[in-house]
């Protein structure tokens, strides 16, 4: 069996912030109404995670659960665990109306790290970075493609679609080029 590879083979770039492509990372999309009675329990038992509030992302060990829309959650977890967790979540939700799908390979994940990491996304995303709260999941666009990001220890994590991973790396590195800080010093 061949090893799964991420879109860019963990490419990285050192600018005024560090850009790293991560992965492969497990991702599950879970569509269900968030007031579905079975949902909190399914998250608890399968992922030991809580249901996130609107526009938040919560951590439980290596697992992240992000609020994507009133009926969609994004779950991040180790790649190897995805298949089992998809089955377990599906079973835990039982007959309730829900959709659980493995999207690990449909996405790419980037780390933007360093004290000036936010300045990289200030150039690409129409988001007030100063107002970004810890644990806030922001769905937006990065230049011309859809993206979502949140703060993690040491910087930011950004999710985009796999087919445009090279484009996302391109815009991140362009924006992080040394000397082009928005706020030098």
């Amino acid at each position: 069996m061949s090893e799964a590879v991420s879109a860019l083979g963990n490419a990285s770039f050192e600018g005024f912030a560090t850009i790293r492509e991560l992965g492969p990372v497990g991702m599950i999309t879970l569509r269900a109404k968030h007031d579905l009675p079975a949902l909190p329990k399914a998250l608890k038992t399968v992922l030991t995670a809580e249901l996130p509030e609107r526009r938040r992302i919560i951590s439980a060990g290596e697992v992240r659960v992000g609020w994507m829309s009133p009926d969609e959650l994004l779950i991040l977890l180790p790649y190897a665990e995805v298949a089992d967790r998809v089955v377990a979540l599906t079973e835990a939700l039982g007959t309730a109306h829900a959709l659980v799908a493995d999207v690990s390979d449909a996405r790419c994940l980037f780390a933007i790290e360093g004290e000036k990491a936010a300045q990289v996304l200030m150039k690409l995303c129409p988001v007030d970075m100063a107002a970004l709260e810890r644990g806030e999941l922001r769905r937006t666009r990065a230049a011309q493609v859809p993206a979502a990001f949140w703060a993690e220890e040491g910087g930011l994590r950004l999710v985009a679609f796999r087919s445009v991973a090279a484009y996302v790396m391109g815009i991140l590195t362009h924006s992080a080029r040394p000397g082009s800080e928005l706020f030098p010093a």
Binding site: E3, L99, A106, S163, V164
Partner: protein, 993 residues
Amino acid sequence: MSTRLARGGRLIDRNHPLDFTFNGKRMRGFAGDTLAAALLANDQMLVGRSFKYHRPRGIVAAGAEEPNALVQLGTGGRSEPNQRTTTTELFAGLSAASQNHWPSLEFDVGAVNAAASRFLPAGFYYKTFLQPRLAWKHLFEPVIRRSAGLGRPPEEPDADRYEQAYAFCDLLVVGGGIAGLQAALSASASGQMVMLLEQTPHWGGRAPVDDVLIEGRPAADWVAATVASLEAAPNVTLRTRCMAAGVHDHGYVLAEERVADHTPGDGRPKKRLWRIRAGKVVTATGAIERPLPFAGNDIPGVMLASAVRDYLVNWAVSPGDRVVIVTNNDDAYRTAIAVHRAGLTVPAVLDARAEADGALPEEVRSLGIPVLTNRAVAKIKGGKRVTGVAVCAQAGEGAVLDEFACDAVAMSGGWSPVVHLWSHCGGKLIWDEAQSAFRPDPARPPITHDGSAMVAAAGSANGELLSADVLADAIRAVGGEGPAPRAQSPEEAPTEPVWIMPQGATPALRSKMWLDYQNDVKVSDVQLAAREGYESVEHTKRYTTLGMATDQGKLSNINGLAVLAGSLNAPIPAVGTTTFRPPYTPVTFGALVGEARGEIFQPLRRTPMHDWHEAHGAYWEPVGLWRRPYCYSRPGESHGDAVAREVTNARTKLGLLDASTLGKILVKGPDAGRFLDMIYTNVMSSLPVGRCRYGLMCNENGFLMDDGVVVRLSEDSWLCHTTSGGADRIHAHMEDWLQCEWWDWQVYTANLTEQFAQVAIVGPNARKLLEKLGGMDVSKEALPFMHWADGTIAGVPARVFRISFSGELSYEVAVPAGQGLAFWQACLEAGTEFGVLPYGTEALHVMRAEKGFIMIGDETDGTVIPQDLNLGWAISKKKADFIGKRGMERTFLASPDRWKLVGLETLDGSVLPDGAIAPAPGSNANGQRNTQGRVTSTYWSPTLKKGIAMGLVHRGPERMGEVIEFPKIWGGVVQARIVDPVFYDKAGEKQDV
């Protein structure tokens, strides 16, 4: 001569000389110079030629309002036309060239236009359209095109890079003069997030030049202290070299920052476009001095009085030893004082007013400078440079009373508040009689979503010209508290409106009074327009081109409309202004484009096998934002030959296609079957688990919009394949119906397109390859045609669909994208013994056309219903409804009298031209040839060794065997027989083995 003074210059660093060139001539300036200051320091007053008459043009202003001193800056990849020397910072190695002259700046043949100016009156451009008709094309157009124009567009790709940035603030203050600084300071005290922009590299605006005292000390000290405290405030962002270009709805402001304009090649972006969302905007953009319209006011050496002061004080540049001042206000006397203080001579101050006895005129008199009231300029003497001034009475017609020899003339016609940003979103203006200027009307500001004022003007931009008033107004503008800093500046007597000098000037003089320097619009032109019936200022602007040059009339608009008002005998506010539109000064395309160049011009979607394709000779075809291999050419092989080879190989041995781009949408839920029965024209709810079915999707009008294979995954879930270009659109279409119309149906969708790499394994050896890779039973019995199965192949989790778009034995295998490349390579390796070759989209097209399969976008164009394509079998007769059902039942769509799909076979075996239209006898009501059909797909078939085509032909299926003609591109016709569109294996035996 203009020259550098031995002392002074608050902005220059004499320890840092910088060498640069102008028209190839080596010159030297200092760090801190603008290019204009450095040119003047090198006695380069003549910097260009005017647009229409090619008149010599000198530097007039010292800031963003400069109309004349535009140059071609840089060379090669850094060549930029129309760069304003007054805002261009000098750097070492700068090279500039003057524009719009031929053969040279000093000797320009275009100046004969000036001699012929009576043939180029206002509206000459439009008049050339009138008659004789051929004159425009053969005479006027070539001549005008050659003689008119500014800089040259760059010929090489831009060597620099650009970027954009988003910013958010409660209050955006535009302008870093004392008004802007005070506004930011007051607002910051309230804890608001404040952003302060200044277009120049320096804070403080005019105050340090104009001897303003704040709290008893020079304004520069207060500026430095205020900037320091703003820099220390955590809630304030300061940016210099950042020009707010436009105010848009909802507090959206675009600003252009010159990041590395003055440090080319240092790796930083040349410019940065700030996209700012501001709660409120304060415009502290100052005011612009107006020229005076007198004869010869365009001769190099005639400058704005404030600009003369700026050059003296900021850059220690003298415009000439003897400077005559001509004014209608007290402020210009500051220039007389500055000239005197620099040790130069003021032969006279000519004041158009009857009296001038304010503090400033008195101070000038006390310096021994003659102040002549009720005087005007009759004309300027000189050609390429001012040599003197002929003086007359302002009240008269221009009879010369006296003459002064001089090297420069400093003129001041009063000040106009910069109301551009206030006006962009609908802020209204009022006419201020005392200052003869339009100023913002506080009762009618631009308003935002909640009806409150979005913009407030502060300081000189609000019509307050005295520094004490400016500071108080800045505090008021932000709703601040506390007293304003105590500012001292002399009282000034009112400005007297002077729109023509002298007021009774003869026609000869009026035809030498320039309003718009860059576009060569004179007082006589505006008066002519008025005589010809132009009453609206907007029409007059376009007719005369007043204010339509790159400076957008910063100096000319008010004078021009005042002259128009005078000609129409209307009050100035009744004539009004033209519309102020963004940008305030030109914004380079690079900044608007931002990072989107080269590799990141557009998101390029890549399949997991993209790099492999590229390394193996793929010739790319764009499909949506994807790139798909059109074919894989071998060295020396034409694309056509490669396609033929790939088709033949797939038909006889084994072909591999990267089908990863196909849309894959998961649809799940208790109502999913019902939903898909509405989305598709045929029935999907009845599809058994484990089976595949080809389906069609129509829009509400009944037109075919997408197709693909639908797969029943489980009792409540289906996987819908869409076309490569259609995945996102169809997913959005589904969500649209689910969210807006059928919100109570229990259905979820997920676009899984990129989760899977999909490989089509095609050809007689397809099964052998999968059997060799191992892991699944893919026999005919275990996996019949139009079935699917999950399993593992070559150790990779796989879903195998037995579907065929080629007519051959075919499997499409979906694997996780992260293992797509490995699986592709495994197929190639294992397939060697079976003769495997990858094939591209063109081979795919040829094979599907041989089979008579339609292609969305080829056989459909948004006007074609499934029945036109003989796909009536895929339209359910049993379903009560589906999207498009009612649409396609409309009489003209249900009529048999339509163009329908047929095969076309040329009698000579040649390939029909793509898109060719078959004529029919007679002509229509418009006298056009009637038509009876068109070619939708046409290829050379390597399998059948002849041209094959599909087309839509009027009642085509009823006309089998009939021969119709299609025109060829280079003349002649080709005859084609109407045949069945399935050219290859009509029984479908090959795919079902």
